[in-house]
């Protein structure tokens, strides 16, 4: 039998990624995601490396920006690119619950 993820496992990652899946897709991804996850398991076979990490693939340091104002967008431009807006605001369906962030 082909190895696959459970339905719930697929739905869990789809939920994390905010992707709606059809029934067909769920079945397909049960198999496909499993294949990829088996691939990445191979990292556990790698030995002998140290703990330093490479964040960006070069050795440079970060140059900081001077605290000086630059150009800003016209509010019109901001809202006109959005699928929905009202006046100067971008509009979305009402949000229930509070931000999880800061």
């Amino acid at each position: 039998m082909e190895e696959k993820l459970t339905r719930e496992e697929v739905l869990h990652v789809a939920r994390l990624a905010r992707i709606q899946l059809s029934e067909e897709e769920i079945e397909k991804y049960q198999v496909e995601l499993k294949k990829l996850l088996k691939d990445v398991e191979k990292i556990n076979d790698v030995k002998g490396y140290d703990d330093d990490i490479l964040i960006a693939c070069w050795d440079g340091n970060t140059e900081l920006r001077k605290d000086e104002e630059g150009e800003m967008l016209d509010p019109k431009q901001v809202v006109e690119n959005a699928p929905h807006h009202a006046g100067n605001y971008i509009e979305v369906p009402v949000v229930i619950g509070e931000s999880e962030g800061a």
């Binding site: 990624a17 897709e25 490396y49 070069w58």
Partner: protein, 482 residues
Amino acid sequence: MKYLNKSITEIHELLKNKTITPVDLVEEAFENIEKNKELNAYITLNKEEALKEAKELEGKEVDNLLFGLPIAVKDNIITKGLRTTCGSHILENFVPIYNATVVEKIKAKHMIIIGKTNMDEFAMGSSSRTSYFGAPRNPWNKDKICGGSSGGSAATIAARDVLFAIGSDTGGSIRQPASYTGIVGMKPTYGRISRYGLVAFASSLDQMGPMTKNVYENAVLLNALVGKDEKDLTSARREEEDFTRFIGKDIKGMKIAVPNFLMGDIVSKEVKEKIKDTIQLLEKSGATVDYVDIKYLENAMTLYQIIAMGEASSNLARFDGIRYGFQAENIKNIEEMYLETRGQGFGEEVKRRIMVGSYLLSGENAKVYYNKALSIRDDMRKEFKKVFEKYDLIIGPTTVTTAYDLTDPMDDPRKSFMDDVLVIPVNMAGLPGMNIPVGFDNKHMPIGMQIIGNSFEEAKIYQLGSFIEKSLNLELTPGGEK
């Protein structure tokens, strides 16, 4: 009269002595593109604006080699006022309100953008078949893929529509299609070119680069693209240099390494033979070539899968239908807006990678996978550095086979990674790497060799590349010289 099959120096002379104008070049480019329409190399053409810009250049001083030349830009590079789709439904109607730094740079050279080239959706794929707009075709055989993700850029250069294209390379997406289409494609050192305005796939790996029909033109375009950009903290501050400066120099005494991994069983016999022939040529010309082992190379694909999918899952989170782009219709609430917009907006490959990436970063997994991959990548980079203490350059095949059929199955999710197994290590170490055509297989499909340099040593790569180009003197126009 045809001009765009001539060399850049010839065209430059013709522009200078006013035999031709940028308008002639732009018109010819669009004629070529029209003639090669079935290649499906472009998602969006910029005809009206390009002609307008060309007209505006008339009367201006022809002040640099790139002046007035048409250029094709991969559709994941942001162009103000010109639709930028990333090959995706979710950005199908997205018209940006700013320019990528590279776009500003080519405009400063008075180059003219003629269109946005076809690509795998969000650069995820190895055959450009994940494009929402259909796959581009290989000019050498229209039933074959032209590789990916910069497939459209490769196709338009191979077909000689224009001289210049820009691609992007996260895990081989410039070099691999260059190999499949017989052109020169350079992925410069990470940090060489500002990523500002390149729609991020995997931020720590992404790098844009020039795609051209020959080495010299490639180096000339790279000259124009590089430089520290205050808008990109990962762009490097380097002294200005001319990347053409070693072109034409001989290679006597050059020390070259061939990693055994790149010549292993995964590589087809035909490809391997061609690389061996080239190695012989180099040895005969006074270079020393040694086979070496580089630790962690065989792990590069795994690291790549983890890092690229992990970062992609986060980078593509911004496509939510709120501030720009596609939003699903008939949504009842905010949750549905996210789910439906992204469910309908993204294609299969992208969804698959985002979901795996989300999994890899979730809970304790980030420690087990992503952070570990960052650690091993650091060590792998150090291993490469060790090789470069002894050797000038590293070479090997760019791809394991030549371009395969467009109709080949796409049902194995690992396939798109396997196609790039030889080119991925370069991205992992942030090194520069270039494809140079070295011959053809028995069906006359191009075979490519990749040349890998130490960080910021692109000029040395061009030196070897131009030497090989000159020595082999291959006929690289599909169907022969037009």
